[in-house]
């Protein structure tokens, strides 16, 4: 009955593979792959949990009477420990609650964003806000808006402004908020990174200067106030200061984006994409086969009634 557990194991492995994949694949492909894979794997694992819970529920005498099947056959053919079934039911409930809450929060935030974007008068979709903040962001809407603080614009020369605007325009034009929302609902966070890379590559294509985009990101990031870190961050900061060379492996998104722009543009990696698709398909097939097994067992139990 390992078929039932496979759709649960693959997402766990995929979670570990997401970051290296996000670094290696062309950002547009990475975004599509990670988003669709996250949704497919989430669906498969939910189906597997539902099946596990169904096996456990099928042992209940009440259900046996209602469904008119032999409890005896069910129990003999049932490969799932009752505890696993109960745990699956709990996990399923938890997942349903989490997804509902997340969906409501995100939908509300997006609706708010659309409402506010519609209320902003903007020239060419760009709104310059006064004040001391160093910030720039894309506000999803129909049409979306790019919000930049005047102080940040003052710090950048014309070419860097163009790079920044091109980056934010890519977010709006390619509707990156939909990717991140869908991926987040399926519990995949790496899409947040790949859409940034996607927009970076777009900006690099528009300005035809990868280094310029890298420098713009670096300049803005160093201007912006540092992020307050947890104590773990402090520890890492200390080790970072001691070692002469800091590795990219555990770095935050900004240094990784800059490093990616300072190297050659990413190439299409068909084999890697195909391999990922096959693994996701495996999870789907396993879930389907497991469902068929349950169905066959129920028919057997009904027949021997």
């Amino acid at each position: 009955m390992w078929l039932l557990y496979l759709p649960l194991v693959i997402p766990a492995l995929a979670g570990m593979a997401a970051r290296p994949l996000a670094a290696r694949l062309e950002p547009r492909h990475a975004t599509w792959l990670l988003t669709t894979a996250a949704v497919a794997l989430a669906a498969c694992s939910l189906a597997a949990l539902a099946l596990l819970a169904a096996y456990a529920a099928a042992r209940a005498p009440l259900l046996a009477a209602v469904g008119d099947y032999s409890q005896e056959v069910m129990r003999r053919g049932d490969p799932i420990p009752a505890a696993a079934g109960a745990a699956a039911a709990l996990a399923l409930t938890g997942a349903a609650v989490a997804v509902t809450v997340m969906f409501r929060t995100r939908a509300r935030a997006l609706a708010e964003s659309y409402r506010r974007a519609a209320g902003l008068q903007a020239e060419d979709g760009i709104v310059v806000v006064p004040g001391p903040a160093i910030e720039a962001y894309a506000l999803p809407g129909g049409p979306g808006r790019i919000v930049v603080s005047g102080r940040l614009l003052d710090c950048l020369d014309g070419r860097r402004r163009a790079a920044l605007i091109a980056h934010e325009q890519a977010h709006l034009a390619s509707r990156h908020h939909l990717f991140t929302t869908v991926a987040r609902l399926a519990a995949a966070r790496s899409v947040d990174y790949t859409v940034e890379r996607w927009a970076d590559e777009h900006a690099a294509a528009v300005t035809s200067d990868r280094r310029l985009v890298a420098e713009t990101i670096g300049q803005v990031a160093l201007l912006a106030p540092p992020r307050p870190r947890r104590t773990a961050g402090m520890v890492l900061g200390i080790t970072g200061a001691i070692t002469p060379r800091v590795s990219l492996a555990w770095a935050g998104p900004v240094p990784r984006r800059v490093a990616a722009l300072l190297t050659a543009p990413p190439r299409r990696q068909t084999i890697l994409l195909a391999a990922c698709a096959v693994i996701v398909l495996m999870a789907g097939v396993a879930a389907l086969l497991a469902a068929r097994d349950l169905h066959a067992l129920l028919e057997l139990a009904q027949g021997s009634r």
């Binding site: 990156h176 990031a221 160093l222 992020r227 890492l236 970072g240 800091v246 240094p255």
Partner: protein, 167 residues
């Protein structure tokens, strides 16, 4: 200015407060119509003829600090206090000019945007909806970034301690 405001406002009566509200609107209107930044003195000059006879005793041209002080109301410091308050509310932008400031009205779009930022900034999930150009850096990421940008090859290289001295 701040000392003045905290000293002055608590002792005002209700009627005075209403008058101050009208004055704020009047000053805001002047700055919106103005071609460029105005100093509080210039605002006060333009304020004189605009005020309705009922609000300002004589409606005469008020010119400079002395006249205001003689009339005993709408002194230069009152105008300064009000523009400072408007600035604190985010309705006016100010630029340093010599020893004081000049003020410009913040346009509606920018105002709406900055209010929106305040509203959006308060809620956690909005961070995910807004695609920020860059997220905040940790100290380690900042060091790494300087290394990356200092090196020509793109590989993290060079002396981080030295690179950290820049910027």
């Amino acid at each position: 200015m701040i000392i003045q405001a905290s000293f002055w406002f608590p002792v005002r009566t209700g009627a005075e407060r209403r008058a101050a509200g009208a004055l704020e609107a009047e000053i805001l209107a002047i700055l919106r119509e103005a071609d460029g930044p105005l100093s509080p003195g210039e605002v006060r000059q333009q304020l004189g003829p605009r005020l309705a006879p009922g609000q300002q005793a004589d409606g005469q041209q008020a010119d400079g600090r002395q006249a205001g002080a003689q009339r005993g109301e709408l002194s230069y410091s009152t105008v300064v206090t009000i523009v400072t308050r408007l600035h604190a509310k985010g309705l006016l932008a100010r630029q340093r000019a010599g020893r004081g400031f000049t003020y410009t009205a913040v346009d509606d779009a920018s105002l709406a945007a900055s209010r929106m930022r305040q509203a959006l900034g308060s809620e956690h999930d909005h961070d995910a909806v807004l695609s920020r150009f860059v997220s905040g850096l940790s100290g380690r990421d900042a060091r790494l970034l300087r290394q990356l940008l200092a090196g020509d090859t793109g590989a993290p290289d060079g002396d981080p301690g030295h690179a950290g001295e820049q910027g």
